[in-house]
Symmetry: C2
Subunit: 330 residues, 2 copies
């Protein structure tokens, strides 16, 4: 089943039993824990910290690609394949959506019909805009909830544009970048920035005639070097697939499993976990600042705002003063 | 002329004469001031604060739309039309680009041939990823440089995806959202989130047969209500254009000028400036935190990182402790 909840300022009550229910993979408890993770209510961060201590078992897989590349279809096919191998699957889909309505647009409508109703699958849509906290921080907290609920694999799907979206994808253990043949030039160009974060390149829609060229182009680019996440012991693969026909999906799951084994064997897993944690701490610090300025320090912000608009101060001096105020209350 | 510079950690020297040269619209000084604005070097923020005090005269216009909507062509046509009315034009183009190379991809290659060489025009490409500071903060600082250099109009162009990109566009006085007929469904869907921030809807490529439907759809959406930036005294327009044929560009400039006059007459300009300043202060505070954790507080971050990876602490507790340390040195 797919649950989508707009983030709310008032968190659901956090009772002591919630985490225990999450660990039993109780669906209502998972949804409630996610709402807490996305909220800025008192106690929410402490709850997330407790969830974090229970996480760390799931293999996280980031999936990105430009609009039209066929990410959603790929995620559905991957989810089904992982289920067929006996693994439970959490899916977090980051949707471009309204800053006002906060609603997810693409998510559940298009996706996942075949997967819904399976108790071994949990799907969550995240709104990219209008989120009270930062996208990267709240997404990773939601991933922790799925991890603590003992889902074996967590798929994180996002459009590969925007700094926060790229950060989220890079925070996964294994990164798939999906490319499709025959998209327009301008659409392809926005992809260029994310090609280099791939552990595995997936070419979708390989029933199309120009797919062979896309595969060849990616392989040529890999030979030229200069792309990769700095892990020189893993050789990035290019896998042709057709999610519609289920072609290449088994090979993709095999490649993901090989990458997972490689991470564990090479010591790269620890290096990556350190990098991910560094990003999380920095994002969390930024989030605390934003939350405080929107909450407890709102009056202080408004006072200095009037001065800044009147040019009696500047944004930099104002920000420094506010940071000092925030720190006194932490 | 178009200048593109990757952000550098070491800022160019900030001498006292730089701001004076910027105000004389000296091109080398402008480029140097922008490099300072994008850097995290000591003195950079103080320089930006000084520039900010000189800014506040330009009319800023945010232009967004999905890949393939024809934003770049529109920006070029608008730039030419503003020049024809005797106004000087600054252009800041936010490019999806590599987190590693830091280079701009789309920018200068496709754009602006007709405008280069005109001393009344200055074009700057910003990299969306790999920026040392946050995109929103550094873009608005670069806009301030153009403003202090007395460009009458500053156009800010960005792909309408990603939280930071949307924030930047919303920080303009007038927001144009460009829609094109006949793009794919998934591409159109990512646009949905930005439709509501438009002061003026521009439909591009109106030489195409299905453009009339796009115009009708937008008008229907406006009639249904629920979109707009909260300014109920301005009625959002839908303007058909064909930048290739220069059709509708005069009408678009007229609409922008009407919106500008409306902002001044209605008091909405002040409300908007307050909102923009609030966003800038919050973004600047986040940036200071990120800069400190990447610089002076790097050792403290690394120490707590090891504890967090070992689960002796959690990201939230770690971040709070680091914020307290940062504040003591501000």
């Amino acid at each position: 089943m797919a649950e989508t909840t707009a983030p709310t300022a008032s968190a659901p009550a956090v009772d002591d039993g919630l985490i225990a229910l999450v660990q039993e993979r109780n669906r209502k408890a998972i949804a409630r824990a996610m709402a807490v993770a996305e909220s800025t209510a008192p106690g929410a961060r402490q709850f997330v910290a407790a969830v974090h201590r229970l996480a760390g078992h799931a293999h996280t897989i980031g999936i990105t690609g430009v609009p039209g590349s066929g990410k959603s279809t790929m995620v559905r096919a991957l989810g089904q394949r992982f289920r067929a191998t006996g693994r439970t699957v959490g899916i977090v889909a980051i949707d471009p959506s309204s800053p006002f309505s906060g609603g997810a647009i693409l998510g559940d409508r298009i996706r996942m019909n075949e997967l819904s109703g399976d108790p071994g699958v949990f799907i969550r849509s995240m709104a990219t805009r209008g989120a009270l906290g930062g996208l990267a921080r709240s997404t990773l907290d939601v991933v922790d909830v799925l991890d603590a609920a003992r889902f074996d694999v967590v798929l994180i799907e996002t459009v590969g544009v925007g700094q926060d979206e790229v950060d989220v994808v890079q925070a996964a253990h294994t990164v798939l970048v999906v490319s499709a043949p025959g998209l327009g030039d301008e659409v392809q160009a926005i992809k260029a920035g994310v090609l280099e974060i791939a552990d595995i390149h997936v070419v979708s829609k390989c029933d199309k005639p120009d797919a062979r060229q896309t595969v060849a182009d990616l392989k040529a680019m890999l030979r030229l070097g200069g792309i990769g996440r700095g892990d020189t012991t893993w050789s990035v693969e290019v896998l042709p697939t057709s999610a519609q026909n289920r072609d290449g999906i088994d090979a993709l799951v095999d490649a993901i499993d090989r990458h997972r084994a490689h991470l564990a064997a090479s010591g790269e897993l620890e290096a990556r976990q350190r990098k991910i944690m560094e990003m999380r701490i920095v994002k969390t610090a930024e989030d605390i600042v934003r939350d405080e300025l929107g909450g407890r320090r709102r009056d202080a912000l408004h006072a200095v705002l009037s001065q800044a608009v009147a040019k009696d101060t500047d944004p930099y001096t104002a920000a420094r003063g506010l940071l000092r105020e925030i720190a006194t209350g932490l």
